[in-house]
Symmetry: C2
Subunit: 283 residues, 2 copies
DNA sequence: CGCAAGTTTGACGCTGCTCAATCACTGTGG
DNA sequence: CCACAGTGATTGAGCAGCGTCAAACTTGCG
């Protein structure tokens, strides 16, 4: 046991702190260091870009509010969304080692984004091993999410793909307290975005949404999605949230470069807080 | 300039050395350290597994010969192959931080695999920053490959998916000298494997292969694939090899945790060596 | 030699795409 | 304040790409 540790569920206003604290317990001074890092976020408007494919990456992006998406584009105009960056998410920190982005990052909603030079992140991680560990686990979860998306697009039916995506987004937003008590949350995605995520056309996404609505599994209103029956939706999608590693700390391993000296425990379910200004997409 | 550096194209028998040397020039003592690490590979038979989903990962895998595949499975039996591990490839080194694999790794051919405890890799990387850098760049390339697969499965037509996969495999095998002078190489994949990779059925894969053969783009014989017209195939697939970062060293960056003190240059095209015993799949 | 696993082929039909038209919403300029 | 344009949602008709089913056929292997 370390005296500095604060074991209570981390209800910090900073979604990055909340997210990291979910996996590795953070001490007050560690949270302060993160808050310091996030003191000057930049405002970005929906539809603008953070980086383009082919650009040389300059910094790492940390989402405070709003959504971004990583995507790749084909010459014929087709777009595949590779991943979402939700509040509390951070873009790939190893990206500083390459000189050409192989994908673009764009804003799906108005957003507050912290631009962090790679060196700063590494300094932070050197000073605070627990933060390093938490960041690494977050990166692992992001990769696992990509694997799950590949499974989703490659092997599931259209209806399942959409359902699975909704379950995942709900689970991820829940970690940062952006789900309200009625399983309802802001989803700043057009049906075109959903289509480019799931490898479908917007028209077919529309039909699948209608079916989910008809079957009383979801409802949509003003850019908010409400999941009416999470259990049924998850069953339909074959959703299992294990891959997100969002259920609290994992056991410590001995043979690790990055060690944290304490083993934590799950902090119970995440209490919900009122969500911040996130652009409401159109349905 | 460092005197220890050997700038000539690295024709080591060790595919891991060849691959890393492609991106970051390695000195003789660094290559020796890697050879030392690989001195006791284990033999594995086609069809056996290295780890299963749900297992606690014990070590990292380095492929010396043969192919492995990472995959996820659905309850209904459908399988999605997430990635291939080719000779010279290494499985995720950060995997030691989690206690449950979210995917399985199985052998697609008989193979020689080095099982490396995570600690050993970290020791190696601490001692040799250039190796650390090379391993990190390899990890980045693997992630980029996954992104490209998502694009492939999500947005391209069946014929293109197969063509794209062939182009990618050819490029990756070329780095470790496993492509012979007629653009021919061992492809230890059944049509079922191809189907599970590209999100199609084996029957439809079969039809696409027939078309590629009819159009004189490829030919198959005894588990070997020959690309008859790489340019046409790549054009058809929309293949651009940039994402593989296999074209020699990238420029050095200042703000990096891991720095190598020299900047290398491309080592020209990879000369081809005779390939080793790789199980010949069935076509 | 005979089984097992994988390939090949065809017929058929469903899932999901294309094309096209209409509607709803929002922001803009006159 | 309203006309208008732009973006996205919705819906339908038609069809094509690809999956499903089924039946040979081929090859490797015990």
């Amino acid at each position: 046991m370390q005296p500095l540790l604060i074991r209570a569920p981390d209800q910090s206003a900073n979604p990055f702190v909340r997210k990291l604290g979910r996996v590795v317990p953070l001490a007050a001074h560690e949270r302060a260091a993160i808050d310091q890092l996030c003191r000057n976020p930049r405002q970005h408007a929906r539809g603008t870009s953070l980086v383009h494919e082919g650009d040389r990456p300059q910094s790492i992006f940390l989402m405070l509010t709003g959504w971004a998406h990583c995507y790749k584009q084909l010459e014929n105009g087709r777009r595949q969304i590779i991943s979402y960056l939700l509040p509390g998410d951070i873009s790939d920190i190893r990206v500083g080692s390459i000189d050409k982005m192989d994908h673009s990052i764009g804003l799906l909603s108005d957003a507050e984004v912290v631009h962090i030079p790679a060196a700063e992140i590494f300094t932070l991680m050197d000073r605070f091993p627990r933060i390093e560990r938490a960041v690494m686990l977050a990166a692992l979860a992001r990769e696992a999410t990509m694997r799950e998306w590949l499974l989703n697009v490659g092997q599931r039916f259209a209806l399942q793909r959409v359902a699975h995506l909704f379950c995942e987004v709900r689970a991820r937003l829940s970690v940062v307290g952006l789900i309200d008590d009625k399983n309802s949350f802001a989803l700043p995605l057009s049906q075109i975005d959903l289509a480019d995520t799931t490898g479908m056309t917007a028209m077919h996404v529309n039909r699948m949404l209608r079916r989910l609505r008809n079957d009383k599994l979801i409802s949509t209103h003003k850019g908010r999605l409400t999941i009416l029956s999470l259990e049924t939706l998850a069953g339909l999608a074959g959703f299992n949230k294990d891959y997100l590693h969002a259920d609290g700390p994992v056991a410590e391993k001995p043979n690790l470069k990055v060690l944290s000296s304490v083993s934590g425990h799950g902090s119970g379910d995440c209490a919900e807080i009122g969500e911040r200004r996130v652009y409401a997409g159109i349905f």
